[in-house]
Symmetry: C2
Subunit: 327 residues, 2 copies
C-alpha cells in the first residue's frame, strides 16, 4: 500500500512518519511506499521512503502529489492560527485553497480511472467559538473565531461533500491542543500550556500568563499520532455526511497541569514557573473550549490519555528518555 503524508516535515508529520516506519503497516495492510511531502524538504529517509518537496497551495504541485495515487493520504499541511491571523491571504491560500486543490487533484485523478483514497485531515478545536456549554456535544455548531478555524471548518465541509460524492473516503479529526508539544517555545497563544511543563522538567524557567483556573482540552503528540493512524483504518460508512469528529482528550486546568508537574518534577520544577499575567493571552484563551463529550469518536475507538499524568509520562518517555538515550 502507498501512504502519503502531506506536511511531513512538521511536528506531527515527523512523529507519524516514524511511527508508520516502525510499524510497517497501517489500516491493517503493509506499507510498500511511504511518500513524505512538505513545502520544506522532509529529512526522514530510508528504504520504502520517498520524499517530495511540494506546495499543496499550488495547483500543479497538488496534481503531482496525487499522481502516484496513494491509497491513504494524511493531509497535515497548514499554517497555524497566529500566522493565518497575521497574514489573511496566506492563510486562505494554504489552509483553504491548499485543501481544495488537493481534493480537486484527487477528483480529477478519479475521473481518469477508479480512485478513492482514504483522506485523513487534521482539523482543530479552532472550528469552535465561544460561548460554549460546559461540555460540548458532537452536534455543537462550528462558529470559528479565527481565520485558521474558519479555514479548517471549510476544509471539513469540503471533505464531507467530496466523500458523499464518492471522490474520496475522508475523515476530519479535530485534534485537541497537543501537549506537551516538543521543541523550542513558540509564540502561539497556546504555547504556555506546554512550556510550563516542558521547560521546568529540564530545569528551565517558563512563563505562565494566565490564572491557574484556565481549563482546556489536551492530548499528547503520541495520542495525536494514534488518532491519525486509527483514522486511516476504520470503517467510515456509518458516518454518512458527518465526517468531522472531535477527538477525545483530557480536560485539565493549568492548576492540574502544575499538580502533575509536581508529581514528576517535584517542588523544584514547580518553582521554575514564573507568573506573569498577560491580559491579551488571557482574553484569547478564555474564548477556547474547555471540555467535550466526544461520543462519536469514542464509539469509533479513538482513545486519548486517561489523565494529565499520562500526558506528562508520554513526554518523559518519548522526548526526555529518548534524548538522553538508553542507560
Amino acid at each position: 500500500m502507498h501512504v502519503m503524508i502531506i506536511g511531513a516535515a512538521g511536528m506531527l508529520g515527523r512523529k507519524l512518519a516514524s511511527r508508520l516506519v516502525a510499524r510497517g503497516e497501517v489500516a491493517g495492510r503493509p506499507i510498500d511506499l511511504l511518500t513524505l511531502a512538505d513545502v520544506i524538504e522532509p529529512s526522514q529517509c530510508g528504504p520504502g521512503i520517498r520524499t517530495l518537496t511540494a506546495d499543496v497551495s499550488s495547483l500543479g504541485d497538488a496534481a503531482e502529489l496525487v499522481a502516484g495515487r496513494p491509497d491513504v493520504i494524511f493531509h497535515l499541511a497548514a499554517i497555524v492560527s497566529g500566522e493565518a491571523e497575521a497574514d489573511f491571504e496566506k492563510g486562505y491560500r494554504i489552509n483553504l485553497d491548499g485543501t481544495r486543490h488537493l481534493l480537486e487533484a484527487i477528483r480529477s485523478a478519479g475521473a481518469q480511472g477508479p480512485y478513492c483514497p482514504r483522506l485523513v485531515f487534521s482539523s482543530s478545536l479552532a472550528v469552535f467559538g465561544a460561548p460554549f456549554p460546559e461540555e460540548i456535544p458532537d452536534e455543537f455548531f462550528a462558529t470559528p473565531s479565527t481565520s485558521y478555524g474558519t479555514q479548517k471548518a471549510i476544509g471539513e465541509l469540503l471533505l464531507a461533500d467530496y466523500s458523499r460524492r464518492g471522490f474520496i473516503d475522508g475523515i476530519a479529526i479535530r485534534l485537541p491542543t497537543i501537549c506537551i508539544r516538543p521543541g523550542k517555545p513558540n509564540k502561539a497563544a497556546s504555547g504556555f500550556f506546554s512550556s510550563i511543563l516542558r521547560e521546568p522538567l529540564v530545569g528551565e524557567e517558563a512563563v505562565l500568563p494566565v490564572p491557574e483556573s484556565v481549563r482546556h482540552w489536551f492530548a499528547s503528540p503520541r495520542a495525536a499520532v494514534g488518532f491519525l493512524e486509527h483514522a486511516a483504518g476504520i470503517d467510515l460508512s456509518g458516518l454518512g455526511a458527518r465526517r468531522s469528529l472531535t477527538m477525545p482528550g483530557v480536560s485539565a486546568t493549568v492548576g492540574e497541569e502544575i499538580e502533575a508537574l509536581r508529581r514528576f518534577g517535584g517542588e523544584r520544577a514547580v518553582r521554575l514557573i514564573r507568573r506573569q499575567p498577560d491580559e491579551t493571552i488571557a482574553r484569547i484563551v478564555l474564548g477556547w473550549p474547555q471540555r467535550f463529550d466526544p461520543k462519536a469518536a469514542l464509539a469509533l475507538g479513538f482513545r486519548a490519555e486517561p489523565d494529565f499524568d499520562a500526558i506528562v509520562r508520554v513526554h518523559i518517555e518519548d522526548e526526555l528518555a529518548a534524548a538522553t538515550g538508553p542507560a
Copy 2:
C-alpha cells in the same frame, strides 16, 4: 444610499426589488440608487434603478459589481440544489467561488479606501443534514447532505470571518422553504409543497408524491422579502462571529397544508390533488428538517407567518388578486 441586489432577476430578487422601490427606503435610510444585478438582464426599470448584467463567479464581474460601493448588498445569486447536485463544477463555481469573489472584491475595495457594506446573504436550511432532534436549536451543527448545502455553509463561514475581520458587516439568513412559490411547477424535489396548493387554487391538478405526514419548515415569499429587508437594517454587533441565523417559519405537515387549502379553495380544490407516491422524492424529503427553535432570529425581530393559513392568504393577496387586477 446605494443598494444592490445580486440575483435580482430571480424569484426573490424581483419581489425584493419591487418592495424596495415601493418603500423607497431600507435600513431607515432613503434609497438613492438601486442596482439590480444578475447574470440574466433584470427586467425591472424606473427612476433610480440601474441594471447590471454580471456573473458573480467571474473575478472581473465581481469587481465591477462592487465598483459603485453599494452600502447594502443583497447576495441572492445562486444555482439551486438540484442543479448544483447535477453539475458539481458549476455549483462550486457559482455558489462557492461566486460568493468568495464577491467578498474578495469588497475586501480589495476596502483596501483602497474605507468601505464596509452590510452584506445580506440568502442561505438555506440545506446547511443541515439528518438525523435531527425534534426541534432544531440555533447551536445545531451544519452537516449538509447536498453540494448546494455545503456551498451555502461555506458561504456562511466566509461571511462570518470577513465580518470579524472588518471587511464587511455581514449576515447570513437561512430561509425556510418558500411556499407558495409563485410561477410554473418546477422539477425541484420540494416543488410539490407549493404546487399542491398553487395549482388547485386556480382549478388545476397537482401531484402529491409523499404521504400527508411529511412535515417541513415554511415561509411565504413575502415573509422572505421581509427577512431580507429586516436583515439590512438591524444592529449586528451583538452577534460576534455567529452571523448565520435560521429564520422563523411555520412547521406544517402536508396534511395541514391540505386542510388550509380546503378552507380557502373548498373540497373542489382538494380533489385536484392526485396522490402518486414517488419513492425517490419521499426519501429525499425525509432527510429534511421539520422544525426549528430560531431563538436568535426571533430575538432580533425576524417574524414569519403565524400559521399555514396566513401563508395561503399571502399567496392569494400577492399573486391571485394581483393577477386578476382590482375589481
